[in-house]
Symmetry: C2
Subunit: 339 residues, 2 copies
C-alpha cells in the first residue's frame, strides 16, 4: 500500500486542483493507499472544506485517507530552479521530495515549477549510476496507443550516449507504466536512412543499432501521430530535449487551434470535445522524471483535477511496478557493444 | 514577362501533375508569361494531348504558351543528390537549372529529388557571398497569415551565425513573396526568455538582438500555429533544419490523421476538406531555395497540379519582386553590431 506525496501548492489552479485530483484518485484506488497533501494547511483546509460541502460532497468519506502535511512556503514559477532547494527548504515542493527521499512517501507528484522539481529531485533523490542528468518522458497520444517521447525538455544539447540512455529509460517507462512488452524505440530524425540526421542523431543511430534496445530505426515527424512507420508500430521516440519540447508544445496547441477553426466551420463542440479528449495527454497522467532514484512525477502547470488524478495513478503504478529499481537494473546491464 | 522552367519529370505524379499545373498557371497569369516544360517529349506530348482532349479541354488555347524542352534523362528519388549533376547532365532537373543559370529561363521549379535540386542549384546558380549553404523556407499555415519556417530541412547542425543568416533570408522571403512590411522574426526555442534554448539558439538570440533584423524574440512550439505570441504576431520562424524538418513533417501529418478520427466521429468529410484546405501548405506554392543566385523553387514530391500551379506563381512573384537581388543586398548590408 502506497503513500503518494502531492504538492498541494503546485500549478495554476492550486490548491483546488490538487485537492480535487487527490480526492478523485482516492475514489478510484484501492483503500489503504494514501495521498499526502503537502502545503499550507491554512489554505488547504478551507479549500477542501468548500469542495466537500460543494461539488465533491459525495467524496466526504475519503477525507480520512488524505494526510495533511503543513509546509509554510511555496516555490513559485519565478523562483530560480537551482536556488529553490536552498532558499525555500520549507516549501511544499522541497518538503514533499524530502519525505520521499526519507522513505516517508513512496512517490512525489507536483504541477509546480518544473525546473525546481527537477533540480531538487536530482539532489534529494540522486541519479542512477551512469547518468549525468535526468530525462522527461511524455506520453504522446497517437492514432494507435500513446508513445513516449523522451526527452521532452530536460536536456537540450545531448550527446549520442545520452540519447542511448533515453532509449533505455523510455523502454522501462513503456514497459512499467504503459504495460508494453519488449517496447520498440524509434530515433527521431529527418529521414529513415541511418545516415540521415544531425551529427548526434547519426552517431546515436549506430549506438542504438549495436545496443540491447529493441531498435525500430529512424522515424520522422510525420510518423509520430501515426505511432507507426511502414515497418510497424513503435512505443518510444528518442530525441534531444530541445526538439522534444518544441514538438510537445506544438502538439498541445493543435487541438485548441483546430477546435476554434472547426467550430467556426459548423462542427459541433461536443463532437470536438469528445475527439480531442483522446488527444489530451493529461489523460496519461504527467511525466515521470526518469533517472532519479525515486518516483517524481511532473505535471503541467495547467493541470486539471483529472490530470492530477491521473498523475497520482501513474505514480502508484510506478511504485507498484518498481519502475525505479527496474531502471537501475536496465542502466547497469552490460552492453558490450558500446564499450 | 517571365519564362519559368518547370521540371516536367519531377514528382510522384509526373509528367501529368506538372503539365496540368503549368496549364492551370497559364490560365491565371498575364499573357506573355511562358512555362518551359523540361523533360522527355515522348512522354510529355501524349500526356498533354490526353489532358487537353479530356478534363482540360477548355485550356487547349494555352498550349501555345507552353514551350517544350526535350531532356532525355530523369533524376530519380534514389539518385545520390551530389552525383546527379555529373551523372545525369541530360536530365530535366539539370537541364532546367542550366537554362536558368544561362539566363534562358528566369526561374526553375521542380517536385523532383530535393537533395539533387539543392546540390545542382548551388553548383550551377552559385551562392550569395557570405553563405556556405542555402536554406529552405516553408510557409506554415497558421490561425493568422502563414509564417515562414526557415530552415525546414536543408541544414542540420547550424551555427548561431547561420541562424542569423536564415533570419535575413526569411525576412526577404516574407517581404517579397508574402508581401509583409518589415517582417518580424521569431527564434524557435523552449522558453521565451533569452537564456532558454540549446547552445546555438542562445548564442543566436544575442546575434539577432544586436542585428538589423526586426527581432520578435524567442517563440515556442505552441506559438507556431497561432502565428503570434502575447507580444504580437510574427512572420518568420528561425530554427535549424533538423527541428524545422521534424516540425514540418509533423504538421503535415496532423490534417490526415485528425480527419480520419473526426470522420469516424461523424464530422462531414466536406467540412473537413474545406477546413483543412486552409491548412494545406501547397496553397502557398513550394519552398524557394534561399541563398542561391537565382530562383529555384522546391515542391513536395506529392505535389498536386494545384500545388505546382502555386509554385509557378511563387516563382513568378520571386522574379517580379527581384527577390534574388534583394537577398544579395540584404546579406551584404553591413551589420556593425555583429563584427
Amino acid at each position: 500500500l502506497a503513500r503518494i506525496a502531492l504538492d498541494a501548492m503546485g500549478g495554476d489552479m492550486a490548491p483546488v486542483a490538487p485537492i480535487e485530483g487527490a480526492l478523485l484518485a482516492l475514489s478510484e484506488l484501492d483503500t489503504g493507499h494514501t495521498v499526502q497533501l503537502v502545503g499550507r494547511e491554512s489554505e488547504i483546509v478551507p479549500a477542501m472544506d468548500e469542495l466537500l460541502r460543494g461539488r465533491l460532497s459525495g467524496l466526504a468519506s475519503l477525507r480520512a485517507r488524505l494526510e495533511l502535511v503543513d509546509a509554510a512556503d511555496v516555490v513559485t514559477m519565478s523562483d530560480k530552479p537551482t536556488a529553490a532547494l536552498r532558499s525555500k527548504p520549507d516549501s511544499s515542493l522541497v518538503k514533499g521530495l524530502r519525505m520521499h527521499a526519507a522513505g516517508d512517501a513512496d512517490a512525489f507528484v507536483s504541477a509546480g515549477n518544473t525546473g525546481a522539481q527537477m533540480a531538487a529531485s536530482v539532489v534529494l533523490l540522486k541519479l542512477h549510476n551512469g547518468l549525468t542528468r535526468p530525462a522527461i518522458g511524455t506520453p504522446f497520444p497517437t492514432a494507435r496507443e500513446p508513445v513516449i517521447v523522451i526527452d521532452s525538455g530536460a536536456n537540450v544539447d545531448c550527446s549520442p550516449a545520452e540519447l542511448l540512455q533515453f532509449a533505455r529509460l523510455g523502454s522501462v517507462y513503456a514497459e512499467d507504466l504503459l504495460g508494453r512488452t519488449n517496447p520498440t524505440v524509434g530515433l527521431l530524425s529527418i529521414g529513415e536512412e541511418p545516415e540521415k540526421g544531425n551529427a548526434a542523431v547519426k552517431e546515436a543511430h549506430k549506438l542504438l543499432a549495436a545496443s540491447d534496445i529493441n531498435f525500430h530505426g529512424n522515424i520522422e515527424g510525420r510518423d509520430v501521430i501515426a505511432g507507426a512507420t511502414e515497418r510497424g508500430p513503435f512505443d518510444v521516440v528518442v530525441c534531444d530535449g530541445f526538439v522534444g519540447n518544441v514538438l510537445l508544445k506544438f502538439y498541445e496547441s493543435v487541438a485548441p487551434q483546430l477546435s476554434r477553426i472547426l467550430v467556426e466551420a459548423g462542427v459541433s463542440p461536443d463532437v470536438l470535445e469528445r475527439v480531442f479528449r483522446t488527444l489530451d495527454y493529461s489523460e496519461y497522467g504527467g511525466a515521470p522524471l526518469l533517472g532519479v532514484r525515486g518516483v517524481s512525477i511532473i505535471c503541467h502547470g495547467s493541470s486539471s483535477p483529472r490530470a492530477i488524478k491521473n498523475a497520482l495513478r501513474a505514480a502508484l503504478r510506478a511504485v507498484d511496478t518498481r519502475m525505479n529499481e527496474h531502471i537501475g537494473r536496465r542502466l547497469a546491464r552490460p552492453a558490450l557493444e558500446e564499450v
